[in-house]
């Protein structure tokens, strides 16, 4: 398959190398799919509101390159373990006692099922990732292991003469009755204009609990695409939180399949889009078993010439009885040139269910504004304060204190009058 450059925005087809069999098989399958279908277009219902022309017209380098210059503010949390990537290269690694954390090269020929959960038809860019990723992070949590501190996976995109494509890949296998917190942080330095296309696969065993955080602070020229794909066994719980405060063109997908009774998930998200940012969040919760529950809250703030997209799909399969599924998406439009396109969907084939969704688009509450102003707070500050409060409805649920404090600060920084705002809150 060498020399196939049917895809114009990439400098080269993925090159086979000295690698285990599972890797080359996955690569071949993925590349076959991607070179046949290419990037999705707006004619594809799932990409109706997000145009990937900016990627298609770009030129991205795919080979391994020395990492660029970085200076990224650290998150001051006590960490269980850390792996840092800069432009796709591992630059820092700190293992944790008791936690099996390996890079794919260290796995040898062991076929551990990476890629099984990802369907290229549902998410075409997962094929691109599967064709190009180098160092997949593979985490195994043995039955009964409980970790309190968060594992941090950090991906840094730097300013380079030519933009690069990086494909972070993570595979988390959680045994029965385990507990783990993972923070995936995507961050870009000023001037970075790369394409980060991440895939994280998660298998939650019986009674397992995963807290997953995706923090996206890419630069305002960066393009970021991500997929979190989870399969949940009986009584497992997934809490996935997604915070977007950066990036020029961002698309995130979360697909959770509740495949056994008792499984539940909570998805929450906050997106702040200013300037010319475009942020698209797609979620898909598939209730494939009876007695499964889900709830979902996404809040968005859109200003400048930004565009936000939300699509939340809930599927309840036939015979998946006694299902509760709730979803809410609220959006705040701050400027006359911003746009929001939201589409909450329910697809229900069982009858003993309680499903609901709500979506709103609106402005700050005039009465709340008046209340603040009557107490001597200037309009600018009052608006910033109420916007911050709207973000807080999602951000405050973050259970890792250091991450929450960091994000609150980052959100405030992006609002007008932030010094006064931070004094007030």
């Amino acid at each position: 398959m060498t020399g196939n450059t049917a895809i114009d925005f990439l400098d080269a087809a993925p090159a086979p190398r000295d690698e285990p069999r599972w890797r080359s098989q996955l690569r071949d399958r993925a590349w076959e799919h991607f070179s046949r279908h290419g990037l999705p277009t707006r004619r594809d219902e799932n990409w109706k509101y997000t145009n990937l022309r900016a990627i298609d017209k770009g030129q991205f380098t795919t080979g391994s390159l020395p990492p660029g210059e970085t200076s990224v503010a650290p998150i001051g949390a006590d960490k269980l373990a850390v792996v840092s990537f800069v432009d796709g290269q591992v630059t820092q690694r700190q293992d944790a006692p008791g936690l099996s954390l390996r890079l794919s090269a260290e796995l040898g020929d062991e076929d551990f099922g990476l890629g099984e959960l990802v369907d290229f038809d549902t998410h075409p860019l997962a094929a691109l990732n599967s064709a190009y990723f180098d160092d997949a992070v593979v985490i195994d949590v043995a039955a009964g292991q409980v970790f309190d501190q968060p594992l941090l996976l950090e991906y840094v995109s730097t300013a380079r003469p030519a933009p690069v494509l990086t494909c972070p890949r993570v595979f988390i296998r959680m045994g029965a009755n385990t507990q783990l917190t993972v923070v995936e942080r995507f961050v870009g330095v000023d001037g970075a204009a790369n394409l980060t296309n991440a895939v994280t696969e998660v298998e939650l065993g019986t009674g397992a609990r995963l807290d997953h955080y995706r923090l996206q602070e890419l630069s305002d020229s960066d393009k970021g695409i991500s997929l979190l794909r989870a399969r949940q066994h009986a009584d497992s719980r997934l809490v996935a939180r997604s915070i977007d405060i950066g990036g020029r063109l961002v698309r995130n997908d979360v697909h959770a399949t509740l495949s056994e009774p008792g499984a539940s998930c909570r998805l929450s998200g906050f997106y702040l889009c200013l300037g010319r940012q475009h942020t698209d969040n797609h979620t898909r919760i598939d209730h494939d078993a009876a007695d499964t529950n889900s709830d979902e809250v996404y809040h968005g703030v859109l200003g400048g010439r930004a565009r936000g997209v939300f699509n939340g799909k809930v599927i309840v399969r036939q015979d998946s009885q006694r299902v509760n599924a709730n979803q809410s998406n609220r959006n705040l439009l701050l400027s006359g040139t911003a746009e929001i396109d939201t589409k909450p969907e329910l697809e229900i084939y069982a009858d003993d269910v309680r499903c609901s969704h709500g979506a709103t688009v609106g402005q700050l509450d005039d009465e709340a504004l008046f209340y603040l102003r009557s107490r001597g707070i200037g309009e600018r500050t009052a608006r910033a304060l109420l916007t911050f409060a709207f973000a807080e409805e999602v951000v405050r649920d973050i259970e890792v204190d250091a991450v929450r404090d960091y994000l609150e600060h980052q959100v405030a920084l992006r609002l007008p009058d932030h010094e006064r705002l931070e004094k007030l809150v």
Binding site: N331, K343, P344, L346, A359, V361
Partner: protein
Amino acid sequence: MSNEQLKRIVGERYRHGFTTDIDSDTVPPGLDESVIRHISHKKGEPSFMLDWRLRAYEHWLTMTEPDWAHLQHKPIDYQSISYYSAPKSDKDRPKSLDEVDPKLLETYDKLGIPLHERAALAGVAVDAVFDSVSVATTFRDKLAEAGVIFCSFSEAVKDHPELIEQYIGSVVPYTDNYFATLNSAVFTDGSFVYVPEGVRCPMELSTYFRINAANTGQFERTLIIAAPGSYVSYLEGCTAPMRDENQLHAAVVELIAEDDAQIKYSTVQNWYPGDEDGVGGIYNFVTKRGDCRGRNSHISWTQVETGSAITWKYPSCILRGDNSVGEFYSVAVTNNLQQADTGTKMIHIGKNTRSTIVSKGISAGRAQNSYRGLVKVTKGADGARNYAQCDSLLLGDRCGAHTFPYIEVSNPSAVVEHEATTSKIGDDQLFYCRQRGIAEEDAVNMIVNGFCKDVFRELPMEFAVEAQALLNVSLEGAVG
């Protein structure tokens, strides 16, 4: 409730299934330019009408059938449909009800809607469409006195060609979508209403559509124009005889509301839904759209959809005029193997425009019921306000209820709210009623009627009664 009981009640047969044997002047199946020329010639249309039809046909040939709806059906063979069918007695059209073919009147009697009785009692002028040609029109004089034009579409083409030429296709252009384009090429008849400036139409206008001759697709076209400051309420009701082959129905309805005008359009649709195994039934692919052109104009759609094997229908409002208002109230019931993909579009363009959407879907048997809607607020639509509520009720564990609302907002002063719920009748609700001595079946009725109340109360009185009766036939007690 036991399964047996449930089956018995859900399995209640379609009451309006019969055909009236009248000689129809029917064109052989198939569609090409000559069929269109034939239809146009038969109807004695002016040349602009024929040109328009032919342009539509040419465009139709370049289109492909849409497949995005949550529907499954066998491909439709457009060449096996007969595109024109008129009752033989076309030449000497009746001047009054007495002259109407008694067999026709008999048909209406079987449906339980005797024309004169109904007209006299309810003060409703009925423009009865039997197959494709209007055969009876009443209360003409009274309407004429008020200056209201209410006639069949073919008559309007002959008597008021200037109005037709001005308005036809101005809301739903012939290029709009596959089915509307087909309709534009081959429509045979329909209704035309023009309410002049400042006139409040003195009575509710009503049309009964009824598909009759075998294998005849019915292509209705309705055009309602409300001049500045006028008001009209239009009722449309449908029943169809039992038949084993699928029949295609692709209607187009265009509403135009000028400054301060109001149009209220109500539909009760009860076409043959097919039998328990999904054999037969009407394919109902309808394009309905209202254009709130003027300031302070108001268009409201109310629909009760209980029939048809497949319903594909999105009555929409284009809120172009400042302060204009669009409303959509819908009850869609599907049972057995019926499928419905229905909803609305509210396009906010003018300033301070408001829209309300209330959609109630009821799904039973193995039916699939989808709500699909779009609320779009464009950049200049300052102060736009939308509220949408879509509730689904599931009766049985083999049916489906789906919601696909699209919301696109690009104005920061817009307030858009969408809510949707899906559930079955709660055991607690049933228990509450049972405990107070209400039989299970009555309790279910009560709860389902309560579920639909928000929509029924938007219907004109006589329709509300019919709607409740229809609901009972379609569903009564379909809950265990």
